[in-house]
């Protein structure tokens, strides 16, 4: 009783009676209590735990945050951020903590009911399988009997996405998959098998698991960076580098920021503090954003440029900078930088025309009549000192077949030169040059005056000018001593002619004065700090059809102001960028390069464009985006450009040919071919005769379908599958909401088939942790281990560390790590292959690759098909290689390191070394494979952890001795002394458990362009600028100018504003339009605050922290116009499909735009659509990709193919949607 009474305040004994001090304050209302506090152990017990394990998340966010994972009573309970990263250096904020709300949510998945716990298969497929296996007894024949039967095939295709999964055991699932693979290889060829998995840096062993298996069997891995439209093609165009960016700590060095379409707090959450903190160190911030975005909150100035018009603002700022800092006044730092590190002084040939001239190609050594190695590939400047044209070191011609002069010393034949930036003071004369100008109303021509010099060459006299002179004329900035002024030149900043600040105001809506002020501040800051002005840019400016032009105009500012390659300066591109820091070593493991070369690597955009038949709906006529100065377009359909690119060896194209590559070899051998060369010759002859076609020329023929697709670490259908409904319709043959009809355009290079095929894939396998949209549409869904249940490695470009995944618990239920998943598939496959395939020879076609001598294959565009040249593999045609595959050895090869690492070497980006010391060390560290056969005695790679150790041992970034060795290779090529960059860390060698003890800072290596050290933060291109290693471009310098004929066709020699395409879209078929309650909005799909792509988007915590499902942001005035209130259901549609989402109404959003966070799963809170009478789709249900031909260029210096490096990007941002209030919705729960 006393106990009870004690608990009621009014009856409690005074504290004094219990012998302890109890105090009251504030009119006796507040009290401090003593005694009776044993209950406090309640919360203490909750906090107590049994162990804490270092791991992270292998999710596509580039955060790469190290986490502590807690286990209590055997249950994985929660995670907190690790805070023990090595220091960033004195006077810098550290990377602690790193993490974000999404990552902190990961433990929710571990035991959640959405987790895949057992292998699943669609029940109708399992029934077919059971019947078939009973009859056939052989799995391969059984599989054939299902997929060769059109009715059966259609039956399980139609079931895709409809539920109806049943459990199957691991062995059986693996046998079905193995049977499908063998059937496909036999019947169609290994190049009809595909794997898709993105962003290896985030869990590189997981990526490598499937990639290694698939590469070993000759299947193709599909690229992601270009497909996501995150690849900025401007980066390879300008620098010959896929992307390289400053680590976030380097932001802290900057004293001026322009944040331009990248939402740092939302998408770079763990790094954003460097942005906010740099302000206290004095950095000024200008934010360019169409909406009042999160990053705008931290800015000093907001420049609200209309979405998609950013290039206009950048052009006006370039105009101001060129005028004020290059012409009116010449800033010495900028001039020195421009002369040494950019193509501004390089000579360009003026192409004669009737009334005016146009900007042509770079002047080459060959034009001077010089008989030197690679004379077509050595570019020319005018040497002010020697008063003559000179061929300086460093252009791409110096890179191949010679050594010692591929460097950025301003030298020609060992004597110094002084390149002239402008011919204005020493002109032979002035000419009028016409430039294209693009506006929403259409393209036009603008004229400018350039000073020229005359060059006498073997083919007569050429008039040449410099890139700088062209740029000034293009911008309408007059040289002081120009004899006259073009009437197209603006009179001043107030003149609305292109490209003045006032001109941009009409385009972007940004006040002219703000544009001028920001440009001046940016340049003045760079002048005073020698380049510490930085521009952040990302998805907001990158996902457009003309993304490369937007980026080039913006990057202009950084290069003109000498900011690239400077700590605290330059571009900071943050969208989808990643960094597999041990890239060369990882590639070796991931693509099975240790056993066989070359692997098949397909560019994603082209693949999906054809595989999902989005090309059939493409209505973008090339002539509408061509330069008004160019003639007839090279092709009539965007798909035609891709077909040309494939046959000239510019882009990869798998399936390769309209014939099984194995059969092709057999046929050649049957015809008498013995050597590889003879086999290849047979194929070339067949191509030449037209007896063999490229599969891309007939993508809708069943022989050319992709047949098997593996998805892991990827949610293609719920996240990145742009043109989602076309995926469902054509690739999967499932229910879909395509409201579109075939476009009226017909390609010339590609066969049009009627009707369009529906259901190309025989088998879709998803290896997943959870029931994602992709798993829902898969035929077989295999349960994957979570990120707290495996060993793996993780790196990013946002920080310099490499750190591990460790299992806090073993994979629960029947889940397995990706490594183990592909091992069991490989095991079953190898066993079945013994009888079914044996040893075969496969003909592998690969494109002309960047960073190989192939990149100087095509100085001119000549098409062998049109008889303009001979088809020569590796020159005018893709490379053709005969690869012998003993399929029964696949498992043995997968689980041990092969011999090519020592014999052929390890490398990337044109730098190669041999792992002669590393392989024995690996054998000692990991043991060797015991199985009899090809792998016996090789370093063991049975486990994921061993694969990780192999990567660490082979990589210069994690093995100091290897780093020094790698530098030696580059020293030879460049004639520079470089190994000093890694010497101080020569003795370091990271082992996996070292990383578990603490994340480690990477060692500087020639694979990357920046320096990793204790003294400074990583900034891209520092090695190019400080050490004078050339950029991997035509001129060897950062290129403002692009001279490839296709670039000229599209009017993109110089960066220029190109308006968004304003795709209002085709009329959706069969939809009654109701204009009074509809609104057309430009549809933007920025990254989400509540997920990393689709991961986490389905977690209860993230759904609770916003609106519980799919939502679309619109402006409040727009909403009022169609009677929509916050939280109403919206039906959003166009010809591509329908998405149902809740309205989020906010004045933060500009009128005329709809923002939908991308990758919200359609499995959550998605009702039916009245239009389609089907369930609403994803954010990608209303998108369709567009491809840009200039991205397909190949065999031309930096414009050469590389996997995830160059190639068309899957642009979808120029799209519009029609928005209606949906009213009451139906849920279709049947």
């Amino acid at each position: 009783m006393d106990k009870f009474l004690n608990r009621l305040r009014f009856f409690r004994r005074k504290a004094s009676a219990t012998g302890c001090r109890e105090e009251r304050s504030a009119d006796q209302w507040t009290e401090t209590q003593c005694g009776r506090r044993e209950w406090e152990d309640l919360y203490r017990r909750r906090w107590q735990y049994d162990k804490k394990v270092r791991s992270t998340h292998g999710v596509n966010c580039t955060g790469s945050c190290s986490w502590d994972v807690y286990v209590k009573d055997g249950i994985l309970v929660w995670e907190t951020q690790a805070v023990d990263y090595p220091d960033c250096g004195e006077g810098f904020p550290n990377h602690e903590p790193r993490g974000c709300p999404r990552g902190a949510t990961y433990s929710w998945y571990t035991y959640s009911p959405v987790r895949l716990k057992h292998p699943l298969i669609r029940s109708c497929l399992l029934q077919m399988w059971r019947k078939a296996i009973a009859i056939h007894d052989d799995p391969v024949s059984a599989w054939a009997s299902i997929v060769e039967d059109e009715a059966k095939r259609a039956d399980f295709h139609k079931a895709r996405g409809k539920g109806g999964f049943v459990r199957v055991d691991w062995d059986q699932a693996a046998v079905i998959i193995a049977a499908a693979l063998i059937h496909t290889i036999k019947k169609h060829g290994p190049d009809r098998i595909f794997g898709f998995s993105p962003i290896p840096a985030m869990s590189m062993v997981c990526y490598a698991s499937g990639a290694r298996f698939l590469s070993l069997i000759g299947a193709a891995m599909i690229s992601f960076y270009d497909w996501y439209c995150d690849l900025p093609p401007a980066s390879p165009q300008i620098w010959g580098e896929q992307t390289d960016v400053p680590e976030s700590a380097d932001w802290y060095e900057a004293t001026y920021f322009i944040v331009w379409g990248t939402n740092l707090p939302m998408t770079r959450t763990p790094d954003a503090h460097f942005y906010t903190e740099a302000r206290y160190r004095g950095a000024r911030v200008a934010a360019v954003a169409p909406d009042y975005a999160e990053y705008v909150k931290f800015a000093d100035t907001w420049l609200p440029a209309k979405a998609g018009t950013d290039a206009a603002l950048a052009m006006a700022m370039t105009h101001v900078i060129v005028k004020e800092f290059y012409i009116d006044r010449q800033v010495p730092y900028f001039m020195d930088y421009a002369r040494q590190f950019t193509d501004l002084p390089f000579a360009v040939v003026l192409e004669p025309g009737a009334d005016f001239e146009t900007a042509g190609r770079f002047l080459r050594a060959a034009d001077l009549g010089l008989d030197v190695n690679n004379a077509q590939w050595k570019t020319v400047v005018y040497d002010a000192a020697g008063k003559c044209f000179a061929v300086p070191n460093g252009s791409i011609g110096f890179r191949w077949n010679e050594e010692g002069r591929w460097n950025l010393r301003l030298e020609e034949d060992d004597h110094g030169i002084d390149p002239l930036l402008s011919f204005a003071d020493q002109a032979d004369g002035w000419r009028t040059v016409a430039f294209p100008v693009f506006a929403e109303t259409g393209a036009g021509v603008k004229k400018g005056l350039v000073p020229y010099k005359t060059v006498a060459g073997p083919k007569g006299e050429l008039r040449v000018t410099t890139v700088f002179d062209l740029m000034a004329a293009h911008l309408g900035v007059t040289h002081k001593n120009a004899p006259t002024v073009s009437e197209d030149y603006p009179a001043g900043y107030d003149d609305p002619k292109p490209f003045t600040p006032t001109w941009q105001e009409a385009v972007t809506g940004v006040p002219a004065a703000d544009a001028v002020r920001t440009a001046r501040e940016f340049a003045e800051n760079a002048e005073k700090t020698r380049g510490k002005s930085m521009i952040f840019l990302g998805a907001g400016t990158n996902h457009w059809f003309h993304s490369d032009m937007i980026y080039r105009t913006i990057i202009n500012l950084t290069t003109l102001c000498g900011c690239q390659g400077v700590n605290g300066g330059g571009w900071a591109h943050y969208v989808g960028q990643e960094k597999v820091r041990p890239q060369a070593a990882w590639s070796q493991v991931a693509f099975g390069l240790d056993w066989q070369r070359p692997p098949r690597q397909q560019n994603g955009t082209s693949f999906y464009y054809f595989a999902t038949d989005q090309w059939r709906y493409d209505t973008l006529r090339p002539e509408t985006v061509l330069s008004p100065l160019s003639g007839r377009p090279a092709a009539t359909h965007m798909a035609d450009y891709n077909a040309v690119a494939a046959r000239l060896g510019w882009l990869p194209s798998y399936p390769q040919f309209d014939q099984n590559p194995i059969e092709l070899v057999r046929e050649a051998v049957a015809g008498g071919a013995v050597t590889d060369a003879e086999i290849t010759a047979h194929v070339v002859e067949k191509l030449k005769k037209g007896a063999l076609g490229f599969a891309v020329e007939d993508p809708d023929h069943p022989a050319n379908f992709p047949r098997v697709l593996f998805l892991w670490r990827a949610n293609l259908l719920g996240a990145s599958g742009k043109g989602h409904e076309y995926f469902l319709k054509h690739l999967l043959g499932a229910d879909h909401a395509v409201l579109n009809t075939d476009g009226e355009l017909r390609p010339e290079e590609i066969r049009w088939r009627e009707p369009a095929p529906e259901g190309k894939l025989d088998l879709l396998v998803t290896l997943e942790q959870r029931m994602s949209t992709s798993a829902m549409y898969a035929d077989i869904a295999l349960p994957a281990a979570g990120w707290y249940e495996m060993h793996d490695l993780n790196t990013t470009d946002m920080h310099p560390f490499i750190h591990p995944f460790n299992p806090a618990i073993d994979p629960p239920w029947e889940t397995r790590t990706n490594w183990e998943q592909f091992k069991i598939i490989a095991e079953k496959f190898s066993a079945l292959a013994e009888d079914h395939l044996g040893t075969i020879r496969d003909l592998v076609a690969t494109p002309l690759m960047h960073d190989t001598p192939d990149e100087i294959a095509q100085a001119e565009v000549l098409d062998w098909r049109r008889g303009e040249c001979e088809p020569v593999p590796g020159k005018t045609l893709p490379n053709l290689t005969v690869v012998t595959r003993n399929y029964a050895d696949t498992y043995r090869m997968m689980t041990a390191l092969g011999p090519l690492a020592e014999t052929a070497g390890v490398g990337a980006k044109g730098v190669v070394w041999k792992a002669v010391q590393e392989v024995p060390a690996l054998k000692a560290a990991l043991g060797t494979a015991a199985a009899h056969g090809v792998s016996r005695g090789r370093p063991a790679m049975d486990t994921g952890k061993q694969a990780a150790e192999t990567i660490l041992m082979l990589a210069p970034e994690t093995n100091g001795e290897t780093a020094v060795k790698a530098w030696a290779a580059l020293e030879k090529r460049t004639g520079l002394s470089l190994r000093h960059l890694s010497l101080s860390r020569r003795g370091e060698r990271f082992r996996f458990d070292d990383l578990t003890a603490q994340p480690r800072k990477i060692i500087t290596s020639p694979i990357w362009s920046g320096i990793e050290s204790e003294e400074r933060r990583y900034s891209p291109f520092v090695i190019n600028i400080e050490e004078k290693v050339p950029f991997r471009t035509l001129t060897g310098r950062a290129q403002f100018y692009q001279d490839h004929p296709w670039m000229r066709d599209f009017g993109e020699q110089l960066p220029v504003y190109r308006p968004p395409l304003e795709m209002t879209g085709r009329a959706p078929e069969g939809v009654k339009r109701e204009p009074e309650r509809e609104m057309v909005l430009n549809y933007l799909t920025p990254h989400s605050k509540w997920s990393i792509h689709s991961t986490y988007s389905d977690t209860l915590i993230m759904l609770t922290l916003f609106r519980g499902g799919e939502a679309i942001w619109i402006n409040d005035e727009d909403a009022r116009g169609i009677d929509v209130r916050d939280n109403d259901w919206l039906e959003c549609f166009n010809a591509n499909g329908v998405v149902m989402a809740k309205a989020v109404v906010s004045p933060r959003i500009p009128p005329g735009k709809a923002f939908m966070y991308h990758a919200q799963e359609r499995l959550i809170n998605t009702p039916g659509s009245k239009i389609t009478e089907k369930r609403g789709g994803t954010h990608n249900s209303v998108t369709r990709i567009l491809v840009k031909p200039t991205h397909m260029i190949g065999g031309y210096a930096q414009l050469s193919y590389g996997f995830n490096y160059y190639g068309p990007v899957g642009a979808q941002r120029d799209e519009s949607i029609i928005v209606r209030k949906a009213g009451k919705v139906d849920w279709y729960e049947y």
Binding site: W29, T30, F92, P101, P113, P1147, R1175
Partner: protein, 474 residues
């Protein structure tokens, strides 16, 4: 003078990126269970907006905190007498809809679903009724100004401003306000409890609900003007932010502060004079409460105070922490951090540095500091309504000092010289600005969080060493 120790927090809203990472480990560790679904000991709100629960700041509706009644303090909801009369019906209790009706999804159905005509998709289901529901509100419904046109008019911080102006695209502003229990010096929740279950810990000022003594009357819930005490429907008891005392006792910071990737949080100890709490809370005007509150905070570097503290039994390690306290520096020394709604008169101990914002219009001389503050998008009046009961002077001082740090450092970095004039204008000197810069920008974990481990008290620790954790069973 009765010297007490308070563990306090400062949040720099000028750095808050609105990411909500703070909320997640807190939720995972403390309220991820039945009965606590809708509870967020730590939540983040977007301003302008009405928050969670809806309109919590509006005490005309919620009647939390204290009012001044002829010079003496009264609970806004009424005194003991009124409580006794209403003990079975509390008219001021927020409804679940004002927080939000917690929901879930039947995730397993995605995997178990038989083959259907339509692709399966999960509707939200109420965690209260189990029925499908239409979501109407959540703990962060207004993220990034979502729905502002509807909720904005209900934000009381627009007092003396025309809210319509700020609800237009070109004029909008936003910032985030992470919120947790204020662990007040004069906590209305403690005063409201009929059972005496709430108390403020003597050693660190953390306010707790005794889970054994709570009888679920819920007067603490309504009495707290910040609406940071919650009712657990399963246990029938109130629960609230415990300032992660199990971590704090070990010298670790709170989970929300540890997780803060914006690095906006500072946790440390403050000394205050408990004898003057009532005096401060009773300050005559609302605007007087903040200065009075500041005034009872004691300077640990003052030898007089240090001597008194030692005499009153405050342990040496606690005093050492108080001297290095980042929150003392930000709150009292530099006046950068301000309390949240001091007019509630609870003397809250979680403080906020007000945010700078983009300037609305460029001037020819954009560096002119005075006018700069008035040209920022967030009206000073709005911040003053939020942080200083409408008194603009302290907000201006804080914003000017933040600005001055930036200007001084910029001149040093870019122009390679020092500009002491910038500092004179805001009452700082070079040493102060260097210290301030370090704390705002680069302070590592160990400087953002200065916490003493539990002081060695009794002499029986040698025995406890072998016995702790066994409890009463052995």
């Amino acid at each position: 003078m009765n010297i007490k120790v308070q563990t306090a927090m400062v949040l720099n809203l000028d750095k808050c990126i609105g990411c909500h990472t703070c909320s997640i480990p807190c939720k995972n560790v403390w309220t991820n269970r039945e009965g606590a679904e809708y509870m967020w000991f730590n939540n983040v709100e977007c301003k302008p907006g009405i928050g969670y629960p809806r309109k919590w700041e509006n005490q005309e509706i919620h009647r939390g905190g204290w009012t001044l009644d002829g010079g003496s303090l009264r609970l806004a909801a009424g005194g003991r007498m009124k409580k006794s009369l209403n003990i079975f019906h509390n008219p001021d209790l927020p409804t679940i809809d004002e927080y939000y009706e917690p929901w879930d999804y039947e995730y397993g159905r995605l995997i178990d679903s038989p083959r259907r005509t339509h692709q399966p998709s999960l509707r939200p289901r109420s965690r209260i009724t189990g029925e499908p529901m239409t979501l109407q509100w959540g703990p962060n419904w207004e993220d990034d100004l979502a729905g502002l046109s509807e909720t904005g008019p209900g934000d009381p911080n627009f007092k003396d401003l025309d809210y319509r102006t700020y609800l237009q695209f070109r004029n909008v502003f936003m910032f985030w306000l992470p919120r947790l229990c204020e662990h007040c010096l004069n906590p209305a929740c403690v005063a409201s409890c009929p059972s005496g279950a709430l108390y403020k810990r003597d050693e660190d000022g953390i306010v707790l609900v005794d889970q054994e003594r709570c009888r679920g009357w819920r007067y603490c819930v309504s009495g707290c003007p910040y609406k940071k005490v919650y009712f657990n429907w399963k246990t029938g008891r109130a629960e609230k932010c415990i300032f992660c005392y199990p971590r704090l006792e070990a010298g670790l910071t709170t989970l929300c502060a540890h997780s803060c990737v914006g690095r906006i949080r500072y946790v440390g100890v403050l000394l205050y004079d408990a004898d003057r709490i009532a005096e401060a809370a009773r300050a005559p005007q609302d605007k007087d409460v903040y200065p009075a509150h500041l005034d009872i905070l004691l300077d640990p570097n003052d030898p007089e105070i240090a001597r008194a503290a030692r005499f009153q039994g405050i342990a040496p390690n606690v005093m050492a922490a108080a001297r290095r306290s980042p929150v003392h520096a930000l709150i009292r020394e530099w006046r950068l951090a301000l309390p949240l709604h001091p007019e509630f008169r609870t003397l809250p101990m979680v403080w906020y540095v007000p945010p700078l914002s983009p300037i609305t219009r460029q001037m020819d001389d954009p560096s002119e500091a005075g006018s700069l503050i008035d040209r920022m998008r967030i009206p000073v009046t709005y911040l003053a309504n939020l942080l200083t009961a409408g008194d603009e002077a302290p907000v201006r001082l804080a914003l000017k000092r933040l600005s001055a740090v930036r200007r001084f450092m910029r001149t040093r970095r870019v122009e390679k010289r020092d500009d002491p004039q910038v500092l004179d204008a805001v009452g700082l000197d070079t040493t102060a600005v260097e210290r301030l810069y370090r704390l705002l920008a680069i302070a590592p974990l160990a400087e953002r969080f200065v916490l003493p481990t539990r002081p060695a008290g009794k002499d029986d620790l040698f025995i406890q060493q072998g016995a702790c954790g066994f409890g009463d069973a052995l």
